[in-house]
Symmetry: C2
Subunit: 206 residues, 2 copies
DNA sequence: TCAATATTTGACACAGTTGTTAAACAAATG
DNA sequence: CATTTGTTTAACAACTGTGTCAAATATTGA
């Protein structure tokens, strides 16, 4: 086995990532993962105990992917609110465009099993309340200084997340309803990277 | 069987609605539906052929629930853009707050089987393109008249939908991440009915 | 009360999924 | 070449879920 090549173990994880993310835990068959990886089911158990074990590995990775960058921006200090918004929007849309099924996957799995959020959240050392608080404080300060219109930090945060995440979550619906192809959709998302930040800033600036 | 009482058939459909909406098709067991309805599995097959039949009935109902009101507003004539936005936002948030799992259900089922959207869309006589076009025309006119900042109709539409729908879709995540209880969440959604329209209008008005 | 209808029980066949095992085979590595 | 490691094949047991059926029982309406 040459080092530069990807190992079978990685191929399996890669395949599991695809299938689990597309179909979710319940609808995924281990056979589907094996087929996607180009191996058979026995080999899958040779490397990993069972379906649940693989899922946990995948979920941890994808969970991190979904939240990590965002929390880095939350933490970032000495950045103006508007710049923070610009960074968040750009990061979220860029990341989700690269992984179009990621948000839907995380949301539906957490909806089916809310415990996952607690478990992997703490496992990755996230402290939502502290980080969220820092953003809410930042917003409250700007409101107080009357540099932006009055708005609650958590409502603004929800708005930012909504505008970035929803289009990807609802992508299968949007493609049909708006009658656009994959290529056009990508262009629309590209366009949003700029426009959404300005949309938000226009909405709140005085 | 007294007429005023709900029939067993209705009890089953009611139960199926709850379970399917919460868990989706793949993760739902007919046993779960029977238990939720307080009857046994055999009776379920006595009234309905099979799981798929029940699912189709449920999906059609919920699909209509999700899209109907929105399309009515789309169609509505002689309404200013801003009023149309206000109506859409109010309707969407009100409807989704009443049915918190509805949006996630429709989105995930359509993501698993895009054909559903085509099938039930045409079945219910929706013509997305025509309706969407009327909205895009309205926006284009306002942009042309320079009464609002330049924005594509479809981007604006996506923004409106995002701001209304995402918070409900991501509710299980938001509850934990923002550390709020059901009651507080409801209040936040109530607040959004007013604030989101104004947020949008501020974002686009000149 | 009688007959029709609704509901439960228990059993069953069938299909699908999961996880395991033994044996054979292939590839790579010393 | 001999050995280890990776992989496939085939078969299997256990379990779960679906759909069906016959018989027994309960409920209702005529």
């Amino acid at each position: 086995m040459i080092l530069a090549e990807i190992t079978t173990e990685e191929r399996i994880l890669e395949a599991a990532m695809k299938v689990f993310t597309r179909r979710g835990f319940a609808a995924t068959r281990t056979e589907d993962i094996a087929k996607e990886a180009g191996i058979n089911r026995t080999l899958l158990h040779y490397y990993f105990r069972d379906k649940q074990t693989i899922f946990n590995l995948i979920f941890e990775t994808r969970f991190k992917e979904f939240f990590k960058g965002l929390f880095l921006i939350f933490e970032a200090d000495n950045i103006s609110l508007f710049d923070k918004i610009r960074r968040m929007v750009d990061h979220e849309i860029t990341m989700l465009t690269k992984h179009p099924d990621l948000a839907r996957f995380i949301i539906t799995e957490v909806a089916h099993n809310p415990q996952l959020l607690i478990e992997y959240g703490t496992k990755l050392g996230m402290n939502p309340r502290v980080l969220k608080q820092s953003f809410e404080d930042l917003v409250a300060r700007e409101v107080n200084d009357k540099t932006i219109k009055p708005i609650e930090g958590r409502q603004l945060l929800m708005n930012i997340m909504s505008l970035c995440i929803y289009p990807l979550v609802a992508k299968p619906i949007i493609l049909t309803m708006m009658n656009v192809d994959e290529r056009t959709f990508s262009q629309m998302m590209e366009q949003r990277k700029e426009e959404v930040s300005e949309f938000i800033i226009n909405a709140i600036k005085k």
